[in-house]
Symmetry: C2
Amino acid sequence: MLNRVRSAVAHLVSSGGAPPPRPKSPDLPNSTSAPPAAPPQAPRSPPARAGSGSAAPARTVEARASFCRPTFLQLSPGGLRRADDHAGRAVQSPPDTGRRLPWSTGYAEVINSGKSRHNEDQACCEVVYVEGRRSVSGAPREPSRGQGLCFYYWGLFDGHAGGRAAEMASRLLHRHIQEQLKDLVEILQDPSPPPLCLPSTPGAPGSSDSSHLVGPQSCWSSQKEVTHESLVVGAIENAFQFMDEQMARERHGHQVEGGCCALVVVYLLGKVYVANAGDSRAIIVRNGEIIPMSREFTPETERQRLQMLGFLKPELLGGEFTHLEFPRRVQPKELGQRMLYRDQNMTGWAYKKIELEDLRFPLVCGEGKKARMMATIGVTRGLGDHNLRVCSSTLPIKPFLSSFPEVRVYDLTQYEHCPDDVLVLGTDGLWDVTSDCEVAATVDRVLSAYEPNDPSRYTALAQALVLGARGTPRDRGWRLPNNKLGSGDDISVFVIPLGGPGSYS
Amino acid sequence: MLNRVRSAVAHLVSSGGAPPPRPKSPDLPNSTSAPPAAPPQAPRSPPARAGSGSAAPARTVEARASFCRPTFLQLSPGGLRRADDHAGRAVQSPPDTGRRLPWSTGYAEVINSGKSRHNEDQACCEVVYVEGRRSVSGAPREPSRGQGLCFYYWGLFDGHAGGRAAEMASRLLHRHIQEQLKDLVEILQDPSPPPLCLPSTPGAPGSSDSSHLVGPQSCWSSQKEVTHESLVVGAIENAFQFMDEQMARERHGHQVEGGCCALVVVYLLGKVYVANAGDSRAIIVRNGEIIPMSREFTPETERQRLQMLGFLKPELLGGEFTHLEFPRRVQPKELGQRMLYRDQNMTGWAYKKIELEDLRFPLVCGEGKKARMMATIGVTRGLGDHNLRVCSSTLPIKPFLSSFPEVRVYDLTQYEHCPDDVLVLGTDGLWDVTSDCEVAATVDRVLSAYEPNDPSRYTALAQALVLGARGTPRDRGWRLPNNKLGSGDDISVFVIPLGGPGSYS
């Protein structure tokens, strides 16, 4: 993400000393491979490649760090160099000749125009097999593929202040979802309501006694009903949380200096779950109609949550910030005047008399893409950022950031989809210069030029979207056909067909 | 409101000693009367009338307290007795013969079926004149009606644990709105953007110097633009806050023992502002289409705000409650098992191992009308409740309640309204047994039976809505035509025509 963190890299707290060796595998117990039927994309990136740029002291950490692109791009060393070229900005897609992405997914990406050293977006597209941890009744059972669950998974990760958080999340977040779903394998395949309780210790003496399962029928009549769908939502929410905690624990080993937005799609048992933490966006285009599947989390959209936190926990403001919002920063000469303000409870504005503590910098300021929290960061949910501090200060920003996504659910079985119905995921590089309607128009234009059963049409669409947002080099910049500036940010796009060839096979 | 506060009256903290004499007038400086053109409804209720019921000790305060109905009902002493009769439940409306409500507004109400001693709903319908506090430029100016502003005002107040909070709010909330708007009289009539600053002291030396007005043009280009509309929203939001603070200060004098929901409509300069704090509801029915103008604030809809507060300020839970939600209360024998839960960040559910502190009562429990916060209250925004404590405890509930409304704005000039387009306000007594669609059907049925210019049609509609929710006495209860139980709660309804005769004259 471009400009999302103002000078944040320069203010990072150094991890101190030489970084410990990078762990060989994620710290996740019992990680299960995809079954043979699923495309065997490795969840790991190509081998690390040392940066070739400046070796100035401020860049030491970055220069030491590798960079990588999604494995499914199957980039050769030469291809990797081209993908990393800010001048050419070649659009990258999986090769036509190789193994296609699961679900006939289309993908395209392009690097930024030079604002960060490497492409800080990352992507993942996998089919993940979940083997049940145990029988719900407590009896250990034979591992058998037939009793497990498969989910399709797509993830876009838009890094800031470095690319390592996005890289780590793209390798591991689906493993955390897999882990969270292990308890639910049997429950989700059983049409009866989820049990209120599970046994505490799998396979422990007595845990096969079904009296441990307090089913709804044995409880108060006022017991709240919990749906299967809400269990999947809870699993995804907690997976984000555990991913963030793992980043906190292992950030030195993984050299994770920054953070990332995460936009994730899980298809499981007929439903599409779209989980978003950050300012990427997902929309469904169905028969030309636009269905928003996410919303962005920024200092503007989360103003009241942030102000409330600052109001309830003033120590987090460190005496440097005020939780009140003013239309601009208050100046000392305005002491005693009455100025427009709003607090954590207000959506409207009113006048208040300016006092000394109102001269502090506002917790939230600016509008649109210029909105900032603590004068530093333009996105308020995501993963990582455990070291992020306020510019020229040691005040930590992380307490105000949330790693929890908003999850929206779309029931794929409730509508007869045609091959032109798609779910489009994009990082903000796409959406900064492209409206939902423009995306829908491109969907129509590109897909109608291909046969409905041509599997390359979704990659062509992703490429068209990326190209349309990047523009072409002209007049000392990347420009769109209308001569406005194109996006100078990293741009990454997934196109997931909802009714196309190869769908939910 | 029926059953909204479980046994709350029995757990009220007594104010102690004899109540001080009731103040003669609201503690609001410079309250301004309506101008001669506006209907001169007095903002005060009829003379207090001692309750005629039991004089048992537990009821001493209530028996001593008066009760009242809205002045615009023009009830005689006999009429007041009939309005207070739980057995007959006669529907009350302003008399056909008297002065009509402003804006041809229709109104009807009925008392509950015996669950509280008196009708705890209150209502107010006024035209309020706002005289500017001063010229914005600081120069004191001649009071002159032409330079002031009029707003139309409707308020529904649904009391709980006593009727005094609703009564006090019905008399005073519009005065607080009036007070908040005084600074804005000139600003709102000036098409240029609101000034960033006002002078600190009206009429003080030098304050007529316009250099005190820091207009947008003199500020940073990044200054946030504030609209006139958002100033009115801010004024209403702060008026609710000041009303609540006045209740806190004067609750002993006014014998305010409980609280109330507040649903308020302000019409000002072409726009309708609907402010809601509680579980009353407002909808617009326009050409048969339903436009929701409010949402309800209950432990269910505000779960995450409440849980977040309990999580950030655990001392407010007093060691008695857990901020986590479980589908039902956890039992000691379930210690160590893994049970469904969700925390303040989650919308989905997951399993967690039950620990000792999970045995505490959940901060939020139950569903629908049975949802409760701290096992006590079923509504989470409103005015008053400053003495409310948890059942069998001294733990205060007020810190979790918000007095801030959500304000929605409807621009009346953006649509050509016909005489059948209405804004319907109702307390939960209406909405508990009547859907939005049923209200829209009644709007169509009743209004089509009257001439479009018949001014009594909106009162007839309000009466039909109240009657339809109350039902008729049959089979030991009040029953609807489909034999389901009607509402046993107080029911109050305003019908505001958006394009009818006498509208915004």
